[in-house]
């Protein structure tokens, strides 16, 4: 069999964990081979070994049948291995060409030969249908285009084996379609692709074979066409997963949150949210869909009180809270699961117990006359940890920093939902979590809805929005494009709205 890359019996141990437990992974020439696993399963360790960022403790790497050692990424580049990182590594005020040649500039005496580089980029771009303008500035092009620049960067360096690390996380559904077409073009031209992902739908759509790893162990390599999504999921998680969320119809109550003509400035001083009006009722989940950076952050921050409102009003249960300080808003029934759990969600240096009282430490019984009441705090945190199934090694005394991302998120979810808020604002509540944790958090959000509370969920994952929401509000460039009923729309329609095309204007 014609294998381009063979990782044979790779073992890699870190202090206290085995990241790769004798894993064998073989990539055929001209195939798209998916690497599937939950977070922390060992996918990244394995590919980082191939890319030269880690050295294996044992096992061997074979390239086109020859055994090689890859001590660093430069060697990997030389051997024709390229990687598209999840977070693009581009210089924003450089042009596409400048970014692509960065590190391997062709020179003309003392000067960089930009012209011939640009010509070559255009040629490559046409060959693979990438449609990239070599003279555009990175700061001016879309995220999908930036990703194609990253792909070009590898092609420019003659990479034969391309590693894509969670490439679809930042793309709109239409951009994902585009990317898949590009990937098919690439293999048609003889390249081989390793696709790291935990999205089963994408694997089904594009991959030829799929290798599943779980907790550092190889579970198996399967042929994608003959394997169902359910089987793949079960291999990944180790138990049966229910995909469909049991959502009962329910009549929703009065409006809990009302936004009236809200305008908010973003960090650059221009309006990030423009004259936006929206209502969230008791007993419903409103999903706010949109591509990253289209005003979601500004909108949420203005509701929480982290950002000043330029004009317009915010009402909570009929009371105007537009200018209230943050604490008063929290106390009148707003909870917030922030997008960045390390920045806004947790004090990592604090223990789980201390983090669980972050919003209630000043209330009885957790403190009296300015003194913290340790017993009450311990009792509270033990109960919450138990109830929300937060896995913390040393219970309430575990430092937040030492926990896994999923359990950190659960800690935040526990803290916010335990306050029994009338309005829960959840921003990307499952970002970067594994299937098990996602399932759990979704259940909790639905629980709030079923209790008759209002939930505003902001997410970049269209699946999440489609599955959970009762109504979907779509935001583009700070404007509300429209609100649609979740039962009465399609992924495609929402995707188009995310791109700024209003409903009705579509045909």
């Amino acid at each position: 069999m014609d294998y381009v890359v063979e990782l044979l019996d790779i073992r890699k141990e870190f202090p206290s964990v085995v990241a790769c437990d004798n894993i064998t992974f073989q990539l055929k020439r001209g195939e798209i081979h998916a690497l599937l696993g939950e977070n922390g399963a060992g996918k990244s360790t394995l590919t980082n070994i191939l890319f030269g960022l880690y050295q294996p403790d044992s096992g061997s790497i074979r390239l086109r049948g020859r055994e090689v050692s890859i001590p660093n990424p430069n060697v990997a580049n030389h051997l024709g291995i390229g990687m598209v990182h999840q977070h693009f590594k581009l210089v924003h005020n450089f042009t596409v060409t400048e970014n692509i040649i960065l590190g391997s500039e062709t020179t003309n005496g003392l000067f960089i030969d930009l012209r011939s580089a640009a010509a070559r980029i255009t040629e490559l771009s046409n060959k693979y249908g990438l449609n990239v303008n070599p003279h555009a500035k990175i700061s001016d092009v879309s995220v999908g285009m930036q990703q194609r620049v990253e792909i070009l960067k590898m092609l420019y360096r003659n990479a034969e084996i391309l590693i894509f690390d969670e490439p679809t996380a930042v793309l709109t559904p239409q951009e994902i379609q585009e990317l898949m077409k590009i990937m098919k073009n690439l293999i048609a031209e003889g390249k081989s692709i390793i696709l790291i992902t935990h999205k089963l739908k994408e694997i089904k759509a594009v991959a030829d074979r799929c290798t599943v790893i779980r907790r550092g162990k190889l579970i198996g390599t399967v042929d994608v066409a003959s394997t169902s999504q359910e089987t793949l999921a079960e291999m990944m998680v180790g138990r049966k997963i229910t995909f469909t969320i049991d959502k009962q119809e329910q009549v929703c109550g009065g409006s809990t949150l009302v936004l009236e003509g809200l305008s908010v400035r973003n960090n650059n001083g221009v309006l990030g949210v423009k004259n936006l009006s929206l209502e969230v009722h008791a007993g419903e989940i409103v999903g706010l869909a949109g591509i990253d950076g289209n005003g979601q952050v500004e909108l949420v921050e203005s509701i929480i009180g982290l950002r000043k409102v330029e004009s317009g009003k915010i009402f909570l249960k009929g009371h105007d809270i537009t200018t209230l300080p943050i604490r008063d808003r929290l106390n009148s029934g707003v909870s917030h699961i922030p997008e960045d759990r390390h920045k806004h969600g947790l004090v990592l240096e604090y223990t789980v117990g201390e983090n669980l009282i972050l919003k209630i430490y000043n209330q009885e019984p957790f403190s009296r006359r300015g003194l913290l009441q340790r017993e009450a705090i311990a009792e509270h945190s033990n109960r919450v940890i138990q109830e929300f199934d937060v896995r913390a090694g040393q219970g309430a005394a575990t430092s937040a920093r030492s926990m896994s991302g999923g359990n950190q998120q659960k800690t935040i979810v526990a803290r916010e939902i335990d306050r029994n808020p009338d309005l829960l604002i959840a921003v990307q509540p499952t970002r970067g979590l594994d299937v098990g944790a996602i399932e759990y958090i979704h259940r909790r959000l639905l629980g709030q809805r079923n209790k008759g509370k209002a939930v505003l969920m902001v997410s970049l994952e269209l699946d999440e929005i489609m599955n959970l929401s009762d109504r979907i509000a779509v935001i583009n460039n700070g404007e509300l494009i429209g609100v649609v009923d979740a039962n009465d729309t399609t992924e495609n329609e929402v995707g188009l709205m995310m791109a700024g095309i209003k409903r009705g204007a579509m045909a």
Partner: protein, 338 residues
């Protein structure tokens, strides 16, 4: 030391034994350590809130000036007078700390810049005020000596330690450590301040008024340094000299670093400094090692002590990071944030 033709072993022996050889020297060690405890706490406390208080020297000067001014003007009974003096020092230092805190909160002026400026304002204020209002009998550059009723020195303590500089300041310092440790550990205020120091975004999102806490933290830090000034100028010394920015303000940073910002660590760190400073004179006297070398040695010891703490912490962090990185492996990115 070798270069100056002396035996290093002997030098070190004298350096350390000089600080703890007899009761008087132990007393002096404690007396030297007293202002350091205050300034060390002043730096450590601000650090807990994520602020770098480089202005302890100026806060000390203002505290000392306030206390000296009261002590030289009022002739009240000793217990009342001392209490008032300490309170004045507390407020003067507190004000001197609060100003950079306020500038930071209101205009986002970096507290390091602001508190360095405040150091010089204090320096020149003393330069003007002492000769103008509290001039000594002989020297233009010193204030009058404080009457014994306004000194933190008390005869029973001085006698107990056979004529050393030790004074009531040490008791106030220990009491302060206990209070600060209590505030940081047990109160909602400490909880808020530490939350702001560790992650002000999360603190703000939880409804803590971050700016207010910054001002308060700097005010408390300043008050601590102000008390340190009082303990130095009306305890250790009995008058104020002009044209000197007290080095304790800066040594306080080293103490806080050695202590990893823990209040009781500040205590041990200050005692360590006290031993070195007291032993310095003894080493000079007993060997031919020049005093400049002695200071160099002290600086070197502190340097290594401090870096060893740093190296250790760096090591810990690296280890933690590795494990973390592993745990969040596929999370890299998606989890975003490390």
């Amino acid at each position: 030391m070798r270069l100056t033709g002396n035996s290093p072993i002997e030098g070190y022996r004298y350096l350390f034994s000089g600080g703890a050889m007899n009761i008087e020297r132990i007393g002096n060690t404690l007396a030297t350590a007293t202002p350091l405890i205050f300034t060390g706490l002043a730096v450590a406390f601000a650090f807990k809130t994520g602020l770098f208080n480089i202005g302890a020297s100026g806060q000390m000067l203002m505290g000392g000036l306030g206390a000296t001014a009261v002590g030289l003007t009022l002739a009240w009974p000793k217990p009342i007078l001392l209490t008032v003096m300490m309170l004045v020092a507390l407020f003067a230092g507190g004000l001197w700390g609060a100003i950079p805190g306020w500038l930071k909160a209101k205009f986002n002026v970096h507290e390091v810049v602001a508190s360095i400026m405040m150091n010089w304002i204090a320096f020149w204020t003393v330069y003007y005020a002492v000769p103008a209002y509290f001039k000594g009998p002989f020297l233009e550059t010193e204030s009058r000596r404080l009457p014994s009723s306004a000194s933190l020195k008390v005869p029973w303590l001085t006698n107990l330690f056979q004529g050393s500089y030790i004074n009531l300041g040490i008791f106030i310092a220990i009491a302060t450590i206990i209070i600060i440790a209590f505030i940081l550990d047990r109160t909602t205020l400490g909880y808020e301040l530490k939350a702001v120091g560790h992650n002000k975004h999360a603190a703000q999102a939880s409804g803590i008024n971050v700016n207010q806490r910054i001002v308060l933290s700097m005010a408390i830090a300043g008050a601590l340094a102000g008390l340190g000034g009082a303990s130095f100028y009306v305890g250790f010394a009995s008058n104020m000299q002009i044209g000197v920015l007290p080095s304790q303000g800066f040594d306080g940073m080293a103490v806080a670093l050695l202590a990893a910002n823990s209040p009781w660590g500040v205590f041990s760190g200050s005692i360590f400094f006290g031993i070195l400073h007291t032993g310095k004179g003894f080493m000079n006297a007993m060997t031919n090692i020049p005093p400049e070398i002695a200071d160099t040695i002290i600086a070197t010891i502190i340097y290594f002590a401090a870096t060893s703490v740093l190296v250790e912490r760096l090591w810990e962090r690296l280890k933690k990071k590795k494990i973390l990185r592993f745990l969040e492996k596929s999370d890299v990115g998606a989890g975003g944030g490390e």
